[in-house]
């Protein structure tokens, strides 16, 4: 400000994000210092990178000429595992997520049930799928069952939280109205809560199918079945043309899921 007053022709400059000059300089210095530290701790093996460029070229060539045929039976097996896992986990997850979501809604549940359900949700959300999959594989052995449980747990974590938040935001007048007619607990849920929440619920479930398929393509890497295992094997053998085929299939199905869930959400919401 005083600098402006001193100069003969005042120059306008846009308002700064942080007004305090020293704080601004301090933050900038800290950022530069961090970047310097971080970048210097990244050690790159350049000979290995140069060696890898040939592989990158082959990977790229693989994308231009994906090989669907020579590993087709493996790919098919992986796809069936991924898809069935996705369907089962979504159905099972939704069935469990509904009561938990109801219990975690402040306006419907007594405080002790609210506490328990919110704790279950927090627990289900705290670790990412890969880590849960590792633990489940250790408990249930390799294969789709561990993957199914992993995806079910993440479905519970995601859906129950959103359902609960949704139920907390419903119009209480309708609940009052049904209660005033002498409706019991289930009638209140059916006519006052469900009818307000259902469109969002259907949309969220469609979205969850999408998420579960994406995850099912990854958890195979740690042994929980699905297309991820096939992809991992293909990359371990440096069979980039098969890997490219698998990736293209995954991208295709994800896009299909995304369009389908978008279409469903637009229709119900």
């Amino acid at each position: 400000m005083d600098a402006q007053a001193r100069s003969a022709a005042p120059v306008w400059h846009p308002p700064r994000l942080i007004e305090n000059r020293w704080l601004r300089i301090g933050i900038a210095a800290a950022v530069v210092g961090y970047l310097w530290l971080a970048l210097s701790s990244v050690d790159v093996d350049w000979t290995r990178v140069v060696e890898g460029m040939a592989r990158a070229a082959r990977l790229f060539a693989g994308f231009l000429q994906p090989d669907f045929t020579s590993r087709w039976s493996d790919i098919q097996q992986g796809l069936i595992e991924s898809l069935t896992m996705t369907v089962c986990a979504t159905v099972f997850g939704v069935i469990l997520a509904l009561p938990i979501g109801l219990g975690a809604a402040r306006n419907l549940a007594p405080w002790w049930l609210y506490g328990i359900c919110r704790a279950v949700i927090a627990l289900a959300r705290s670790f990412q799928e890969i880590i849960v999959a590792i633990l489940f594989v250790a408990m249930f052995g390799f294969g789709t069952f561990a993957g199914f449980l992993t995806l079910s747990l993440s479905t519970i974590g995601f859906l129950s939280k959103l359902i609960a938040d949704d139920i907390e935001e419903i119009d209480p007048a309708q609940v009052e109205a049904i209660r005033a007619t002498g409706g019991g607990f289930w009638q209140v849920i059916d006519f006052a809560v469900a009818s307000q929440v259902t469109p969002r619920l259907v949309g969220l479930t469609a979205y969850q199918v999408d998420i579960n398929f994406r995850e099912s393509s990854v958890i195979g890497i740690v042994g929980a079945g699905g297309i991820g295992a096939t992809l991992n094997t293909a990359l371990d053998r440096y069979e980039f043309d098969s890997a490219a085929a698998i990736l293209l299939i995954i991208i295709g199905i994800v896009m299909l899921c995304e369009y389908a869930s978008g279409w469903i959400r637009k229709r119900v919401a």
């Binding site: 890898g52 990977l59 890497i221 992809l231």
Partner: protein, 272 residues
């Protein structure tokens, strides 16, 4: 909604007409058939003896995990630092690439709706539909194991996310301000820096911080495919069945995620 008149002349209210009800019943039936079918295919190879044994296995594993081997923490600080760097540098690279991409993809700032926009959208969708772990697998195969592969994997995955949210924010800006700047005779660069950028700055900052938070989570497991960070320690502890080390690593990951969530919440409150 349907109102039918019964034999006694009284009106009966029902939520659905009989036709709607039939369709709904059919839909549910199809869903149940699909679920049962998938369940049967999925569990065809499941060895149920292992599943029945699982509670005992779980008790066994958790018994081995406790207490965590605290002395192992000394060897975790470096991988943890690497994990933070993977997330932060990956996010920074993604921001640098995704910002121009967002401008190219937004309907109101793209140089060409017919040609450039679809291309930018394709890059965004392609980046989004592949998980960071799969990017990690690919990059480890190409670049060799290490932090660099992790940083690039995180960056490639984040470009689509940041680009998508950014171009949606750009499309929602107030056009009158852009018009006003243009009316003063400003060039394209000035229009962007004075007319558009100030409007999307809050959204931009929120998106960047939000993605950083997600990336902290994702970078903790990237080591499982060899892309550096604390996941590497997790992988080696799992392979040697060193469960007390595994539990310590899981605790560390959990606390890192909690801290990053706290920072994100703080920053967001400061911006909004």
């Amino acid at each position: 909604m349907a109102v039918t008149i019964g034999a006694d002349g009284a009106q009966h209210w029902r939520r659905l007409t009989p036709g709607e009800q039939r369709w709904r019943w059919f839909g549910w039936f199809a869903l149940v058939v699909l679920a049962v079918l998938c369940w049967r295919i999925m569990t065809a190879d499941t060895i149920w003896a292992f599943v029945e044994d699982a509670p005992r296995q779980a008790a066994d594993i958790f018994g081995r995990m406790l207490p965590p081997r605290w002395s192992y923490a000394d060897r975790l600080w470096k991988p943890l630092w690497d994990t933070l760097n993977i997330a932060t540098l990956g996010t920074l690279i993604a921001i640098v690439i995704a910002t121009p991409l967002g401008f190219l993809a937004a309907r109101n700032t793209t140089p060409s709706v017919a040609f450039v926009r679809p291309l930018a959208l394709f890059v965004i969708v392609g980046s989004r539909s592949i998980n960071a772990l799969i990017w990690g697998l690919l990059l480890v195969a190409v670049l060799g194991p290490g932090v660099l592969a992790g940083i690039i994997a995180i960056a490639l995955r984040s470009i689509g996310f940041i680009g998508k949210l950014l171009y949606e924010a750009i499309e929602e800006i107030d056009d009158t301000q852009v018009e006003a700047i243009r009316a003063t005779g400003a060039g394209p660069g000035q229009v962007i820096s004075y007319g558009i950028w100030p409007q999307i700055l809050p959204a931009f900052a929120t998106i960047a911080v939000f993605r950083w938070d997600i990336n902290i989570r994702e970078s903790t497991v990237l080591g499982l495919v060899g892309a550096g960070g604390i996941g590497l320690a997790l992988e080696s502890s799992l392979n040697t069945l060193a469960w007390p080390q595994v539990s310590l690593i899981l605790l560390m990951i959990l606390s890192t995620v909690v801290v990053s969530e706290w920072i994100t919440a703080k920053v967001r409150r400061a911006i909004i």
